[in-house]
């Protein structure tokens, strides 16, 4: 297949993904609508269960097609490469990881109730990315062509997906905390506050070391080779550091009596805020001054910024 064919394949696959996720979302909404009046302990009727399974199946198909879209993106480039060269590619990979994480952890942590949220979130983000971030496939710039890119980005995407999931749980925690006595509907089937807090903690405990590896080990090693310094307080690095510190504070908050639960959830949400601000905000507001400026790629991105420092 030619590069253009691969690129078209990727574009079409993503359109399919959007449709499939949309159907999955509908199925889950029907499922949950049927559950609205049902007390938590009542057994599910056949119809509800069918819709739930249908939604799950569609989500699996959607994720598989999304993987095709990602591979197509990588194959479309010459030379072939990992599909993580710009924000658009980062978003379609990140949502894939989020959905995959949900699918994998679903059975283990009984996350059925997360389905509409994860699918709805992935669908929305994908649509926004398709409309505002789409870019043609281009070769990686020189500074980006390094095995450390792969390692750094894989870790960062995994951590971002997991932190986002943790953030969703924290929101649910705060919502449920305000109405602890609901016995019917969605909120009632969300796990107990204690369990929510614990699952959220586990997810964060997984994401934090991955993030540490991504931004404090792989990132600096790569920055050393590409930019001649391993840490330069570049805007992107500052915010990665802020995110790290906030999540360290989250883990502390969890360990401090009185900060469990509600306060920890708030700190976790601050963490997600800094994470996404780093990803979106920094690129848009400070795109030019950050060396990590894949927001608006100039034609030649080799870092020569410092030529201006010559006085």
């Amino acid at each position: 297949m030619s590069n253009t064919q691969w690129e078209n394949l990727s574009v079409q696959a993503l359109a399919v993904v959007a449709v499939v996720y949309f159907l999955a979302l509908l199925a889950h909404l029907v499922e949950w609508a049927a559950l609205r009046k049902l007390p938590t302990d009542a057994p599910l009727d056949q119809r509800t269960r069918t819709f739930g399974r249908f939604g799950f199946l569609l989500t699996v198909i959607g994720a598989a097609v999304q993987l095709v879209a990602l591979v197509g993106r990588g194959m479309a480039a010459d030379p072939n490469r990992v599909p993580w060269g710009n924000m658009y590619e980062f978003v379609i990979t990140g949502t894939f990881v989020l959905v995959l994480a949900y699918l994998v952890l679903r059975g283990r942590f009984s996350l059925e109730w997360l389905a509409p949220i994860v699918v709805g979130f992935a669908l929305t983000v994908l649509m926004v990315a398709e409309l505002t971030l789409y870019e043609e496939v281009v070769p990686l710039t020189e500074a980006l062509s390094s095995p450390w890119l792969v390692i750094h980005v894989v870790a960062a995407v995994i951590a971002t997906g997991a932190f986002t999931l943790g953030g969703i749980l924290s929101v649910l925690y705060l919502v449920k905390e305000r109405k602890p006595d609901t016995t019917t509907g969605f909120l009632a089937r969300v796990p107990e506050l204690d369990a929510l807090d614990r699952i959220s903690y586990r997810i964060h405990a997984f994401a934090f070391p991955v993030w540490t590896f991504a931004v404090l080990i792989a990132g600096p090693i790569w920055a050393h080779y590409a930019w001649s310094r391993y840490w330069g307080w570049d805007a992107k690095e500052v915010w990665a550091f802020i995110t790290w510190v906030v999540y360290a504070a989250y883990l502390h908050a969890r360990a401090t009596a009185g900060w469990k639960g509600r306060n920890a959830a708030i700190v976790a949400l601050v963490g997600v805020g800094t994470l996404w601000f780093n990803f979106i905000g920094i690129n848009y507001f400070f795109g030019g001054s950050s060396q990590h400026s894949y927001a608006a790629p100039s034609v030649v991105q080799e870092p020569v910024r410092s030529s201006y420092d010559l006085i």
Binding site: E136, Y201, P209, L216, I217, A248, A249, W259
Partner: protein, 510 residues
């Protein structure tokens, strides 16, 4: 009396400082304090932007200056936060290490009086004698890698001691990283130099274009290497969406590690630095240096050689440069203007179509007068001080420009002299940096990660088994307690109960 109060105050402050809550607040404060560093241009990151910002905000700039907002990460208040955090960290690590050390060798704690009151507990009855149950419980728990102690009709056990070790390792490693980072910024240096093809460099201060030493760095720390740029290759993409992008930059170097060392070759590329001792050389930029000859009013050569032009636009490499001929007589000559590597005239405007030097052309304004180079003040080679210079015009007073293709010469008006564009040469910008302590910092984060994994995933827990005789039967109570705050012990408890009962031969028979 006052003495005592002071001591109490100190002790109170120390306890506050090393409390978990303070650590939490300091962490959040550190995050908050970093924000201005990403919003306000920083002197040591983008000096050009920072000075521009100062010009644009004349009212705010002095205030910001006082607050250190142009170099947040070197500022007193930022340092205050992380030093307090480091102090709090030490104050936290020391007592915890002591406690841990003692706890390491301590026996598992005695079983609580009422095991069934614990959230995770189970009870069953059996006809087996008490001692058999307890003996089997010990074997079973040992097999599950618990540390076991039997006393007073009960078995106490505990495992997961390494969690705290991981936690301590993590926190100690944070200090190691801090030390590594500190060593780098105190004893290291970073500098940049532009070298054109066939040009050379030897590592001493005078040869750098810009140089930022660490505050304790000594000139002797500079390794005595030297190199020459023998060639520079670049590959321009001629098709595809990134048409015009440059790729595969390679600067071919001949270098010597010491003045009388053997000469070696290295192909310096982006992402592939050359390491000489503890110093690394990076290729971080490239551009063009047109060779220009200036003859003065007397017809003598007043300047001849390559002149570095700085790219203003990464897409087309349209570059800006300045030529100064202080030896020109009777009047000094200065030129200022642009280089178009692939020149084309589009609707009457000169543009460069492409970054490659397919059709280079310079287009410069000429000035005569006093270049101001004798005043003693150092002057940037990239800026022409025009305050005592006059622009040359055509005889009819209209605008005069030196527009030349390679090989061409243009006479200046007024008999001021002439300018020849001899040819093009590429230059490369090489960043040279020595960062001692980077191994320490890297080792530190890796240790921190190892500690973190231990601390997050090792789950310390205790299991107690008590058996007593009651109504001709043995009542067995088992309880488990998670001590990590994030785990559940229900499953493990069920497993232990199941295997404890499974070993009960008599029960199976009955």
């Amino acid at each position: 009396m006052g003495d005592l109060n002071l001591r109490e105050l100190l002790r109170w402050s120390w306890r506050q400082l090393t409390s978990m809550r303070t650590a939490l607040i300091l962490l959040l404060l550190l995050a908050l304090a970093s924000i201005p560093g990403s919003v306000i241009p920083q002197d040591n990151i983008d000096a050009f932007k920072a000075s521009q910002w100062r010009e644009d905000h004349p009212d705010l700039a002095p205030i910001y200056e006082k607050l250190g907002l142009f170099s947040v990460f070197d500022s007193v208040w930022f340092a205050a936060i992380y030093l307090l955090l480091a102090l709090s960290l030490v104050g936290c690590i020391l007592p915890r290490t002591r406690v841990y050390w003692r706890g390491l060798r301590a026996a598992p704690p005695k079983a609580p009086r009422n095991l069934t009151r614990l959230p995770d507990s189970a009870t069953y009855r059996t006809s087996e004698p008490v001692d058999d149950v307890l003996a089997r419980a010990q074997v079973l728990l040992r097999k599950r890698r618990f540390r076991v102690l039997a006393a007073e009709g009960a078995v106490s056990s505990e495992r997961g001691y390494l969690r705290e070790a991981g936690n301590l390792l993590f926190h100690i490693s944070v200090l190691i990283v801090l030390a590594g980072f500190g060593i780098g910024s105190l004893f290291g240096y970073q500098g940049g130099v532009i070298v054109w093809k066939d040009g050379g460099f030897s590592n001493n201060l005078t040869q750098y274009d810009d140089f930022v030493p660490g505050s304790l760095m000594q000139a002797e720390d500079m390794e005595p290497f030297s190199f020459e740029v023998t060639d520079f290759d670049v590959n321009w993409l001629m098709s595809g969406p990134r048409k015009g992008m440059a790729q595969k930059f390679v600067a071919h170097l001949d270098y010597r590690e010491t003045p009388d060392g053997e000469e070696k070759e290295y192909d310096l590329k982006v992402n592939h630095p050359l390491s000489i001792g503890g110093t690394d050389l990076f290729l971080i930029g490239h551009g063009y240096a047109p060779s220009i000859t200036v003859r003065d009013g007397n017809g003598d050569v007043a300047w001849s050689g390559p002149v570095i032009f700085l790219p203003e636009d990464q897409a087309t490499f349209t570059s800006f440069g300045v030529v100064k001929a202080p030896d020109a007589r009777p009047r000094q000559i200065g030129l200022e203007g642009l280089l178009y590597p692939t020149y084309a005239n589009v609707d009457g405007n000169p543009v460069s179509l492409f970054g490659d030097d397919r059709n280079p052309r310079i287009s410069m304004l000429a000035y005569v007068g006093n270049l101001g180079m004798d005043s003693g003040d150092s002057q940037s080679v990239y800026v022409l001080d025009k305050s005592r210079m006059t622009e040359l015009k055509k005889n009819d007073g209209s605008m005069f420009r030196v527009d030349l293709f390679p090989g061409q010469t243009k006479k200046l008006p007024d008999g001021a002299g002439s300018v020849t564009f001899e040819g093009m040469r590429p230059w490369v910008r090489i960043q040279i940096s020595k960062t001692p302590g980077k191994g320490v910092a890297l080792g530190g984060v890796i240790l921190a990660l190892v500690g973190l994994l231990g601390s997050l995933f090792i789950r310390p827990r205790r299991v107690w088994v008590r058996a007593r005789r009651e109504d001709e039967e043995t009542v067995v109570e088992i309880a488990a307690l998670d001590r990590s705050g994030g785990g559940e012990v229900g499953t493990e408890l069920a497993e232990i109960v199941a295997s404890l009962r499974a070993g009960d031969v008599r029960e199976e028979k009955s």
